[in-house]
């Protein structure tokens, strides 16, 4: 019991550290309420607007009338659909600063008009306080077409996107898989480790203005220490106390909610970007695909890290011990492996990797308080696809999921892309519950 109390104290201590670290971060430092749409001064209206037009074959401007445009806030709390007027103009009043997505349905376009880039039927803008923005849908006359070489161009581009996304999922998910493998714990708070990494890096990079690379490194270290602390302070005492795995699963849900809202409290509900590597348009041309340096770096770093992890698992003492514990905990214990210590390492490594994944995800997309939680189900999908508990399985499964999510937009609307991945998750569980690389359980 006293151990548990000590654990609780350690946990609270950790939260205090989390809190103070974030205290100085933008939301805490800003004017109170400034980041909340509901507390905006009235009368200070903000708009997302645009004009729908294209040049016909003779080069004349043609305006598209009567097309529906939907503007949605990132958190889904605001959504409005308007129709363009005879001059192709449309505008939507939005409730406050934040990230908004304007989208049109390409199928509703007149016969002879198409999107120049089928991917760009939904455009995202970030509005600062009081700011209005215009967004432009790139239209062209004639069929854009989903067939022919255009299709393959898109497929190629999406494959690169998918690979990048899959690698990020993999880095985040290895910890999830290894923790499950060594302890049997299904950690519903793993997404928060991802967010934590992204936020710590944000604090150093944006609030303190340190270089991105250094900030990322710090985030990884802080993440690893946090993981270790959570293992020592919470899970280990609970395990000693004899708390069942299902109870622990529910506890991870509670802890996850707690941490998420601490993040929201401190960081605010907004999406933000890192200070470095944001605007990149020039990049490496590979056939139809242009890879900007940031993405290339993300892919290379991910690959490098994953190879390093694989080598470490294969060659180092602690790596072998991790695999042994994941394979058969009792056997490992009886052959003299200090399982608790190994589990501690797994938590540190898993959390560190998740933090790195968070930073990469923040670079690839943006940073917000819910980013890890949104990724959680995709991580589960990857991990289960590959066979939960195995490190290599998580890797392969995640990459497949990443590709799937991106490539599915060739056929389905982008907002449904996660549905495809989740359906695959369910189908895999039905067809082969042990995953691609996993083993069946025994009865009796």
């Amino acid at each position: 019991m006293s151990r548990l109390l000590r654990g609780a104290v350690a946990g609270i201590g950790l939260l205090v550290v989390v809190g103070t670290l974030l205290w100085a971060s933008p939301a805490g430092a800003q004017e109170p309420g400034a980041d909340d749409p509901a507390e905006q001064e009235p009368g200070q209206s903000q708009q997302v607007s645009g004009t729908l037009r294209y040049k016909d074959d003779s080069g004349e401007d043609v305006f598209v009338e009567g097309l529906e445009v939907t503007v949605e806030s990132a958190d889904g709390s605001f959504s409005e659909t308007v129709t363009s007027d005879e001059d192709g103009r449309w505008a939507v009043e939005v409730p406050g600063p934040g990230r908004y997505t304007a989208s049109i349905d390409p199928d509703q376009l007149p016969e002879d008009v198409s999107l120049r880039d089928e991917d760009r039927s939904a455009l995202t803008v970030t509005l600062a306080e009081g700011e209005s923005r215009a967004v432009l849908f790139a239209l062209q006359s004639g069929e854009g077409g989903r067939g022919g070489s255009h299709f393959f161009d898109r497929a190629a581009r999406l494959s690169v996107e998918g690979l990048k996304f899959g690698l990020i999922i993999a880095i985040c998910a290895i910890g999830l898989s290894l923790i499950f493998g060594t302890t049997g714990l299904v950690n519903f708070a793993h997404g928060e480790m991802v967010t934590w990494g992204a936020l710590v890096a944000f604090f150093f990079n944006v609030t303190l203005g340190w270089p991105m690379v250094l900030s990322a490194a710090i985030a990884v270290v802080v993440g690893a220490i946090t993981g270790l602390g959570i293992d020592r302070g919470l899970w280990r005492p609970l395990e000693r106390r004899g708390t069942g795995l299902i109870a622990m699963l529910v506890i991870t849900i509670g802890v996850g909610i707690l941490i998420r809202y601490v993040f929201l409290y401190q960081f605010g509900g907004f999406t933000r970007t890192y200070a470095d590597y944001q605007l990149q348009t020039e990049g490496l041309e590979l056939g139809p695909v242009t890879i900007v340096p940031r993405d290339l770096a993300t892919i290379l770093i991910s690959l490098g890290v994953l190879v390093a992890v694989a080598l470490a698992l294969q060659l180092t003492r602690i790596g072998k011990a991790m695999r042994a514990v994941a394979d058969n905990r009792d056997l490992a214990e009886s052959s003299g492996i200090d399982v608790e210590r190994v589990v501690g390492y797994v938590w540190a490594a898993g959390a560190g990797l998740a933090a790195l994944g968070g930073v990469l995800l923040g670079l690839a997309e943006q940073v917000d308080w819910l980013m890890g939680f949104r990724l959680l189900l995709l991580m589960f999908a990857g991990v289960i696809l590959g066979g939960i508990g195995t490190a290599y399985g998580a890797l392969i499964g995640s990459i497949v999921i990443g590709l799937l999510v991106q490539l599915s937009t060739l056929w389905v609307a982008p907002e449904l892309k996660n549905v495809v991945a989740l359906l695959v998750l369910i189908i895999i569980l039905i067809v082969r519950p042990q995953g691609i690389l996993g083993q069946a359980e025994r009865v009796g």
Partner: protein
């Protein structure tokens, strides 16, 4: 067979023993009246052939001991026969009825009930509820009838009486309203056996019913196993202790590395060079598989803890 049987019903015992008179003591031997017949059954785990049985018959009304070194495939064979696992190849029939592909609950309903090596007491149900659960064909277990008490009250009463009698017999009656989780390890083994009998099976398959039980209780369980046969049931049980096997079984089947390597009466088994080889020869000098050893130790440990706890509870109750 020379042992004297303390069973009250010696008539049955004689008939049972006689059944094996003309049976050759070799693997796959035909029995005069087999209740369960296994034909070319295999189960593979990756590269490991866990079960590979050409032909095996179990005699009706007899107690058959199934022995073999750890990892021989005994539990896996049980799992296959009772529908808990699917074989790669093979068929088997129970009372002449083909059983392949039947799910576990259908197998049990057909009259073939098994217990588990790691005891499965339903902890948060009372001992009595554990027992009642065993009864088949209950109206009250169907969804809509369950809502109307009058439809199942009578049957429930009858089931309860049967359960009382069995609990009496298995010396668990004083625990009838306790949660099963409060029972000691040995008591759980008893409960699991008694519960299996509630199904009114023809064949009971006991996976190590005496493992991790103190010698006195083991004797009691041996007595129960004998009584089952005396009542006309057929019994197959897995056991590692050769003394126990000698005292209870009419016939012994030996497995090693998935195969049946010998069959016969106890006396011929212990002198069979193949068997000695399986137990000692090939594994000579190799200790127990560490996982298995660990498991057994853990089981024993749990046992001791449960016993201590039960004692403590008893003391508390006295104090209160």
């Amino acid at each position: 067979m020379t042992e004297t049987t303390p069973s009250p019903n010696t008539g049955f015992t004689r008939i049972r023993v006689d059944a094996f008179e003309d049976v050759p003591e070799q693997p796959g031997a035909r029995k005069p009246d087999p209740i369960l017949v296994v034909e070319s059954l295999t189960r593979r785990f990756g590269g490991l052939m866990a079960v590979d049985v050409d032909h095996l018959e179990f005699q009706r009304g007899a107690i058959t001991g199934l022995i073999g070194p750890n990892g021989a495939g005994k539990t896996t064979l049980f799992n296959l026969l009772t529908g808990f696992d699917k074989p790669n190849t093979g068929t088997w029939s129970f009372n002449g009825r083909p059983m392949r592909g039947l799910s576990a609950h259908k197998v049990a309903q057909a009259g073939m009930v098994r217990t588990f090596q790691l005891t499965k007491a339903l902890s948060r149900l009372t001992v009595m509820d554990n027992m009642k659960l065993g009864a088949t064909g209950q109206t009250g277990e169907r969804f809509f009838p369950s809502l109307v008490r009058s439809r199942w009250r009578g049957q429930e009463k009858a089931i309860e009486e049967r359960a009382e009698a069995l609990l009496e017999r298995f010396n668990l009656h004083h625990m009838r309203d306790e949660f099963a989780g409060a029972l000691s390890g040995g008591q759980r083994k008893l409960l699991e056996m008694a519960r299996a009998l509630m199904v009114e099976p023809e064949l009971v398959m006991l996976d190590e019913p005496m493992a991790g039980v103190n010698p006195a209780l083991a004797q009691t369980i041996i007595g129960h196993v004998r009584d089952l046969a005396a009542d006309g049931l057929s019994v197959v049980f897995v056991e590692h202790d050769m003394d126990v096997v000698r005292t209870v079984s009419d016939w012994v089947v030996v497995m090693a590395e998935g195969r049946v390597i010998a069959e016969g009466r106890h006396a011929s088994i212990v002198t069979n060079p193949e068997v000695i080889d399986a137990y000692l020869g090939r594994h000579h000098g190799t200790p127990l598989d560490p996982a298995e050893q660990e498991r057994q130790l853990a089981e024993a440990q749990a046992e001791i803890e449960a016993e201590l706890e039960a004692e403590e509870r008893a003391r508390e109750q006295e104090g209160a």
